[in-house]
Symmetry: C2
Subunit: 192 residues, 2 copies
DNA sequence: ACTTATCCGGGACGCCTGTCCCGCTTAGTT
DNA sequence: AACTAAGCGGGACAGGCGTCCCGGATAAGT
């Protein structure tokens, strides 16, 4: 009947609802980035200036909210991985991406928690972003292995563990850079 | 008056009390080893066949119980460190100790949590075991550095971070060994 | 045997968490 | 302006945690 082409003229999302959802998402980004997945829902609601009920309305569970934040960031990681893969030689692209991942995880605890599986297991939830990330990581890694700059027996789980180790030193920038060097050196084939 | 030489004839600890304390400690060892510092006090009490009040009586706080368990294990680590330092050349002793620490932390989550500071910050509580451990670690590390087998700019916090990374792969024995190799290789001086 | 300080069980308490729900408000449509 | 469904606030609820406390039990000393 109306200008809507759909069969149902269901009322569209209200403007204030959309605004609040955006604000919650915005504050969730900041809060998860600052304190990781362990930050309480009430705290995010308080920062966004809404009630906990409003948060739950837009994101029925805490995991849903965390996923919305983390997957968005991971999509960004995937794009960066593709950029690096396009720009850099296979022999070094992986190392560049590794350093990028560590710095990103240290700056944004949501990324770190998502990668290391702290809080929620995002791997279980099938998502294009997650699988794309896995594919990008595997691609960079295997190409470095074929180029002979990374030992052949490591897998992506090893890489995640190394990242977890590096972000344990996120309190000190120089130490972090040192950890990246140590990890990358260790990944090179032995007696190279 | 009695055979006691002390000034106060305070009643000694009751036999059942000592028995229960030993049982709690025993089960706490097993539980913390299996699941880390996050295991609930109630669970330890249940396993020991006592009530939570009994646990609290002997160990007024959860941190006290965890400390009793963890410090005992750390004393063992210190003895092992001294053994390794006595038996092995400075150039390799550190690496042996590192591998030992990782395997120990993977087998006993209480050790891992104590080392990486998960749960409680045992470093804050001044204890001879903790300071002895720090001294042993620093000694092995600096001697390896003087021998030229470990890069000069790493400190003990870096080592702990690497251990944290290695125990993230404690689900797979082969992967763990691989992680130890990677970490040790990375610790060697560059272009060496 | 009797006394008494020690000890124990089990529940209460307070705190924190994520999730759900009800009554009121408000934006969008007619 | 009126109507209605979407949306909101704030509190209720359930579960889990560490800690504390009281009435009854019991081991140790006399």
């Amino acid at each position: 009947m109306s200008t809507d082409a759909g069969a149902k003229a269901a009322r569209p999302q209200r403007a204030d609802g959309r605004r609040n959802q955006a604000r919650v998402l915005e504050e969730a980004f900041a809060a998860f980035a600052a304190h990781g997945a362990a930050v309480p829902i009430r705290e995010i609601a308080r920062r966004a200036g809404v009630s906990t009920g409003t948060v739950t309305r837009h994101f029925p569970t805490k995991e849903a909210l965390f996923r919305a934040v983390a997957l968005h960031r991971i999509e960004h990681l995937v794009r960066s991985a593709e950029d690096i893969a396009a720009r850099e030689a296979p022999a070094t692209a992986f190392f560049t991406f590794f350093a990028f991942l560590v710095r990103q995880s240290a700056a944004d605890h949501a990324v770190g928690d998502a990668l290391t599986g702290a809080g929620f297991d995002l791997q279980a939830a099938a998502s294009t972003a997650i699988s794309d990330f896995g594919a990008a990581m595997t691609g960079l890694l295997s190409r470095a292995q074929q180029a002979g700059t990374v030992r052949a027996d490591v897998d992506t789980a090893d890489i995640k563990a190394l990242i977890a180790g590096c972000i344990a030193r996120d309190d000190d920038g120089a130490a972090q850079q040192r950890m990246i060097e140590i990890a990358c050196d260790g990944l090179r084939p032995r007696r190279g």
